[in-house]
């Protein structure tokens, strides 16, 4: 009997620990990403953008994919984080790492406080509250031009070299390496969080909040915690944008930022962290390719892709594509 229980416990341990283990495909993915710092010198500007919005999408996945909180206003934290980093650089210190830490911690606090608004009510209420909060922040930034530059954007940011060594260059190489390292480090932490007991309790809340409460999980406290963490991540992404562009446009708080990041998650898939990054890559590459081809109609094609993905389902699209691939393979042989 004892032996039976031991073997069950061993199997349980193996199965749970597997969630935290690095798979070869993941390691390969990050090797390729870091390899791009050297291998793709002409594309560092867009790669930098992908790293930043990928981090932003990971942040949304933390609340949507793992805790079931739908948000239409996630750009609030991205945007305010960008302004926080920009203003700190202008008025206090030009050190990028200090600015990044400042924006991240500040957004954790803002996220924690606003979580109490978001926790009220169900999905539709949450969508509206998150949207409302983002609109309010956007208008505050717009009306306080003395601080934010208003519609002209926040200008006059100058960043010191990273760690006093790596200067930001015109081609975005330092910017990309810096953004990628930050995104990677935060990704590693997020990965650990979602594989932890805390992360599992979030999944339980996402699946059935009623039962989660009935087994003693403090549901609201857990949701506040992950909301604050996600806000901090979004703030970090915003700070990276402000620092690498050395400029903050009012556009960082625009509604389309929130909508785009949700779109990226839908493209890449929620609830496994890589969805955000994959979605960001697909979104940005599509944007580049389609707007080269037909500049006016890029949103038409993105819209069409979205409709297909949601109606047909990503899994089925994937299966259909691989079927087609297999058939083509047979045909050419």
């Amino acid at each position: 009997m004892a032996k039976f229980a031991d073997s069950v416990a061993d199997r349980a341990a193996a199965s749970l620990l597997k969630r935290g283990r690095w798979r070869p495909a993941e390691i390969l993915f990050w090797l390729v990403a870091f390899g791009a710092v050297y291998a793709l010198p002409g594309h560092h500007l867009i790669l930098n953008e992908i790293a930043i919005i990928g981090l932003f999408a990971v942040s949304l996945d933390l609340i949507l994919g793992f805790a079931g909180i739908a948000s239409l206003g996630h750009a609030a934290f991205f945007g305010v984080g960008a302004y926080a980093a920009g203003l700190l650089a202008i008025h206090v210190t030009a050190d990028p790492v200090l600015g990044l830490v400042f924006a991240t911690l500040l957004m954790a606090v803002v996220g924690y406080v606003s979580s109490f608004l978001v926790l009220r009510g169900a999905d539709l209420t949450r969508l509206m509250v998150t949207l409302g909060v983002a609109l309010v922040f956007g208008e505050i930034a717009n009306k306080n031009g003395w601080l934010t530059g208003g519609a002209d954007g926040l200008q006059g940011i100058f960043m010191a070299p990273v760690f006093g060594v790596f200067e930001f260059d015109l081609f975005g190489r330092t910017a990309f390496a810096y953004s990628l390292v930050v995104t990677f480090l935060l990704f590693v932490v997020a990965r650990r969080i979602v594989a932890s007991p805390f992360g599992l309790s979030l999944l339980a809340i996402r699946d059935n909040p009623l039962r989660a409460r009935a087994i003693g999980i403090p549901v609201n406290a857990r949701l506040s915690a992950i909301y604050a963490i996600a806000a901090a991540y979004a703030g970090a992404a915003g700070a990276l944008l402000a620092q690498s562009a050395q400029f903050v446009s009012i556009d960082v708080l625009a509604f389309h930022r929130s909508a785009d990041v949700l779109l990226m998650l839908v493209i890449g898939g929620t609830g496994y962290l890589y969805g955000g990054i994959v979605g960001a890559i697909v979104f940005k590459v599509l944007q580049e390719v389609i707007s080269d081809w037909t500049p006016q109609y890029w949103t038409f094609w993105v819209g069409a892709l979205l409709v297909v993905l949601v109606l047909v389902g990503r899994d089925r699209v994937g299966a259909r594509v691989s079927q087609l691939w297999a058939r083509l393979g047979r045909g050419t042989r």
């Binding site: 039976f4 229980a5 031991d6 069950v8 416990a9 199997r11 349980a12 341990a13 193996a14 199965s15 749970l16 620990l17 969630r19 935290g20 650990r192 969080i193 594989a195 932890s196 007991p197 805390f198 992360g199 599992l200 309790s201 999944l203 339980a204 699946d207 059935n208 009623l210 039962r211 989660a212 409460r213 009935a214 087994i215 003693g216 999980i217 403090p218 549901v219 857990r222 915690a225």
Partner: protein, 251 residues
Amino acid sequence: MSAPALETRGLMKRFGGIVATNDVSFRLAQGERHALIGPNGAGKTTFVNLLTGVHAPSAGQIFLEGQEITNLSAERRVKRGLVRTFQINQLFGAMTPLETLGVAVSEVGGSGADWWRVAGSKARVLDDIAEIAARFGLADVLEARTATLPYGKQRLLEIAVAFACRPRVLLLDEPAAGVPEAERQELLATVCALPRDVSILLIEHDMDLVFSFAEKISVLVDGALLTQGTVAEISRDPRVRAVYLGESADG
């Protein structure tokens, strides 16, 4: 004489003009198997919701092992040892039974908020999961997706999750509801084999289960306790026959 496992004194709940729970003073002794029965609309669900903290009572008090819990949140009551199951399964469909039990065991052990370590690294939690899985016959399906399990297994998991919270008092809300005959015996045997240091209040319609499981029965009618007694006393009581057994015989 030790305090009762669970006690209510003068418990009242009004919804507008309706009195859903009317002056209920109820005692569940330590280790007792007690059934709460009553016709539909008798207020059983409201009573359970008051006990577990879903609703706040309009008047009266609730005690768990002698300590007042009337004003505690639902989560705090669970941590004190008052745990319920649901008449309709309330499980985590996308998770495995392993993860589900792990969440419950970690939470009661105080490590449910650990975010810095990978789940599955605590030997004590794993041992508890293995023991509970064996007790509820879930060891073979620990890694399956909960939503894909046969209904009988889901029903066992429904009780196993509650048991994983280390209850002092377990409220079982119609545990056998909807379970097909073939899987029913396993479920009943498992419920009957729950350890004696857990006091159990069974809320049930199925009179076979009530008579075979319970030592004591309380009858709730129109929100008030009609009577309490042993199985023999209740089955002889003409008032109970009139309001409950008679009605159930009619359909």
